[in-house]
Structures are given as C-alpha cells and as structure tokens.
C-alpha cells in the first residue's frame, strides 16, 4: 500500500567533502509514508513518501499549485487549522507518527517550527518580545534565560549585530529581510528539531534573499531544514536533497546534485532545464 518512491541516498561523484561527511551519518529526522492531503474532495498531495535527513537542507520544488506547500504544512499539522483539510498516511518525527491518536499538535508544532512566505512578526511586540514569545508561552519567566535565548537565536539568525542596540524597538521597524530573519529567530528560540520554510525569500529583494540563503548553511548545524522554493537556482544553491513535485505527486527525490545534473524522470528533466514550469 505504501508505495515507496525509489530514491537514492548514494552520493554521486563530485560531491563536496562536507556533504560526504553528512552522508556518513545520514539518518531521517522526519519521514512521510503514503502521505495524502485532501481539501474537501479535492486532492492536494497524493501518497508522498520521502525522508528529511537530520541536519540537512531539503528543498521542495515544482511548478506553482504542485502541492509542495501543502505537503510542507502537513509536516507540522498546520492543516489541523483548516476545517475542510484532511490528512492521510503517516508523518514520522524521529520514528513517531505525528498524526497518531493522542499526539498533541501543539507539542508537535513546538518541535517543528515554521517560517512563512511573508515575514509575519507580531506587530505589537518589540524585537526582543517577538523572539522570546515562544519561550514565554512555555512558561519561562527567568530574565537571564530569556536574554540568553534571545541573543542566541538572533545570532543564529544572523541578526544580532544589526539589532542588539535596539531590542526594544518594534519588530515592524525592521526592513523586510530583517523581519524575515526575525521570524527565523523567533522560530529558533523554542529549539525546534525541524524548521519548515515556505518560500521564505519570495517577498524579499535579492540582497535580503542572499542573506537568508547564507544563513541556511549555518542553520543546518542546529536544525533540520525543509524549504519550499519556486526558485530552482535557490534550491541548487542551498539544499542537500531535493524533491520535485508535480500535480500533487512527488515525482523524484534525491541528492540535489544528482537531481539537477542527472534526473531520472523526464518530467523533472523538463522542469530543471526550463522547458516546463
């Protein structure tokens, strides 16, 4: 029933050394098995099985409307918030199905953070309070802990140096790119295991985009990243693995280099070479 898509984890030749090191202890942080999402009667994503390896960046690409965002949002149960959406199949986090009965979606979303298309800082809060929001939810009141956590997250999000002198300024006073990094810092503060990013640079200018892309390479030391992007070059630059979606199906999944240089599926090849999409 769980028809597994064939995917390769063997590293092709020409792989950089860092990626080879990664390959040595490659283990899935998350894995989906036959995951489908329906909106009412409409199918959003069909029977997707793929791993998301720990401490890597996995890119989800495909033409718009292909289901990549729908799939991403199924990974931290955001579809629970849409009454007509229904999810079938399994999504495992460290081997445990997040859709199993008795699993608390609130706890899951704490462990699997999310960054959205448009920066969405809380407009009434300061920079500091935006970043500390998640920890405060969990009942952390100690000032020193909060200070430490805010500094650490902002540093990880490569924003600390730009805002350390104005932590009390409103979050909305930052530029678009800074706001998006603020949202990344906010997501990191609760120490998620996985960070889902839904086209995080689509509303940003090229320089801000560059800064976020640079950040991703650093981020994967701390978290596992899955990123939806409509920009193939971006997927090529930042990701270790790539999944190609088309009309709700996962067409192909593999190491980014291999998928881009030697796609197995003709659809993937057409998309990669720009003949389609």
């Amino acid at each position: 029933m769980n028809q597994q898509k064939p995917y390769s984890v063997s590293m092709p030749t020409g792989q950089t050394e860092t990626k080879l090191t990664l390959a040595a202890d490659l283990r899935p942080r998350m894995e989906t098995k036959g995951l489908s999402v329906y909106y009412g009667k409409k199918m959003g994503v069909r029977n997707v099985s793929m791993p998301i390896y720990a401490n890597t960046v996995t890119a989800l690409i495909g033409p718009s409307g292909c289901g990549k965002t729908t799939f991403l949002r199924a990974l931290n149960r955001m579809h629970d918030l849409t009454p007509i959406a229904r999810v079938e199949g399994e999504a495992l986090l460290d081997g445990q199905n997040i859709y199993a009965p008795g699993v608390d979606a609130v706890e899951i979303r704490r462990k699997i953070g999310m960054v959205f298309q448009k920066p969405n800082p809380f407009p009434t809060l300061t920079i500091y309070d935006n970043v500390a929001a998640g920890l405060k939810l969990m009942g952390v009141r100690r000032r020193d802990v909060l200070d430490e956590a805010v500094e650490r997250s902002l540093t990880q999000a490569a924003l600390w140096n730009e805002v350390k002198d104005r932590l009390r300024a409103p979050g909305m006073s930052l530029s678009g790119g800074q706001q998006q990094r603020l949202c990344i810092a906010r997501a990191l503060t609760v120490q998620p295991e996985v960070l889902l990013m839904d086209e995080p640079t689509s509303s940003l200018d090229p320089i801000s985009t560059q800064s976020i892309e640079d950040l991703l390479t650093e981020l994967k030391k701390h978290v596992t990243v899955a990123i939806v992007t409509h920009n193939m070059q971006q997927a090529g630059r930042v990701s270790d693995f790539t999944g190609y979606f088309l009309l709700g199906d996962l067409i192909e999944f593999g190491p980014t280099n291999q998928l881009f240089t030697n796609p197995k599926d003709p659809h993937t090849e057409a998309y990669i070479t720009g003949r389609f999409g």
């Binding site: 608390d104 609130v106 706890e107 704490r110 920890l135 939810l137 969990m138 009942g139 952390v140 100690r142 020193d144 802990v145 430490e148 956590a149 650490r152 120490q191």
Partner: protein, 290 residues
Amino acid sequence: MRPPTDIASAIPKGGNLRVRRVWNVVMVILLLLGSIVVLSPLIAVLGAVFVNGLPTINLAFLTQEFRPVGEGGGGLLHAIVGTLMMNLLALLIGGLLGFAGGVLLSEYPDHPITPYLRTISDLLNGLPALLKGLVIYAIIVLPTGMFSGYAGALALAIILAPIVLRSTEGVLQLVPWSVREAGVALGLPRWRVTISLVIPAATFGVVTGLMLGFARAAGEAAPLFFTAGGSQFLNLTLGQPTESLALTIFKYANEPAVLRQEQAWGAALILTSMVLVASLLARWATRKYN
C-alpha cells in the same frame, strides 16, 4: 562568551502543556458563557415583542384611528400613516444629502474637503438623535410656534443623512476603478462617468443603504418628541402635529390601562417587523450583489 545557560532546563516540565491545555478549555467555556449572556436578553426582548404583540395585531388595529380606551381603544392607522409620511420625506431629504456626500467621498477622494466630511459625518452619526430633534425644535418649532410633521421629517433627515452617506461611499467603492478608467478612456467627462457608469453599477447597494437608514429613522422617538409632537388624529398633510409608531409606544407604555400597554406591544411588533424586513432584504441584497 559566557557559558551557555541550559535553556531546556529552565523550561517548566513539558512546557506547562497540561496547565495550558486546561486554560484552553476553560477559556472556551468562558467565551461560550459570555456569548449566552449576550444572546439571552436579546432573545428575551424579541420574544416578548412577538408574544405580547401578535395577539394585538388585527385588521382593525391597523386600519382604525385613535379612540379612547372606553370606546375600544381604536387602532394605529394615524401613527402608521404619520410614520410613513415623515420617513418618506426624511428619506428624500436625508437620502439626497447623504447620497451626494457619499458620491463626493468616493469619486473625489483627493478633494481637500473629503477627510473632514468623512469625520464630521461619522461624528453626526454618533451624536444622540435627541439632540437632532432639539436643534430642529430651536430653529423651526420655536419660531413657528407649532409642532409639525415637516419638523419631524427634518429631524429624521439629519439622522438618515450620515447613515446613507457611509453606505453610499461603501458601495461605490466596490465598483472597480477599471469601470471609471474605461469611461474616461471613451472621452467622457468625469460627471458623466459617475452618473452613467459608476452609480448604475451600484444601484442595488445604494437602495439597500437607503432601506436600512429608513428602518433606523422609523424607530426614533426622542427627536420627534420635540418636532412632530405627536397627535391623535389621522393627518394626510405634514403641516400639523403628527404621530409616529415610536411615539405611540412611548406614550401607551406609560399609560395605566392594560389595553394601551397591549397596543404598545402591537406597535412594537410592527416596528420590529419593519426593521427585520429591512435588514433581511439588505442581507439578501448584499449576498446577491457580491
């Protein structure tokens, strides 16, 4: 750099999740209770109007004029006619004022007067209806020395105007700018575009706004107290003191005779039905329009 604090150990066990879950449920219950607190008196008011009003309504009640309690109490024809006449005149005057103001706000957004007009109109809408009656009393009733349906209609017109203004502005805004651009591209002057293209496209919405304004004005009693003055006779002109349903309710409710109180409920049911019909039509129209 300082040695890193162990953030994880500072988090209360399980992130306080159990306590937070309980709060989550408690708040739903509180919100539901609050909603019931809101809806129950409202149901009580509507229920009382229907239960007490329905037995009173019959043909005689709607077609007879005032009669003393000893002679059966008569009906509400004089009040119904007075209400309709005053409100129709008010709709004509206040509707025109508000409509023109709404067109100005929507079609000339850059005109320097626009922001002031919008603020002042909202202010006028928020001012007590009573004061609108008092002012008509001071400038019309006092000098002429007589209550009249005309004065009442003017007071109601002041109540109507800002309501119609805001609804007109709202529905004209819904007409896409491309319609105006298309008209201008045809070489039409702006006023022609507004009258021949924009307003016809929004007729439905404008009429809905007028209807809601009419229903609101029809329920006003306080301003008529100083202007229309009330009357026991059926008048077919507005040049003399005129009765309205809302005034009748106020007067009859305070009379000791049970019959009068019953008639007050009957009048309340008629008024409520008018509001009900107007808002249902408005809702239907909005749905159809969108």
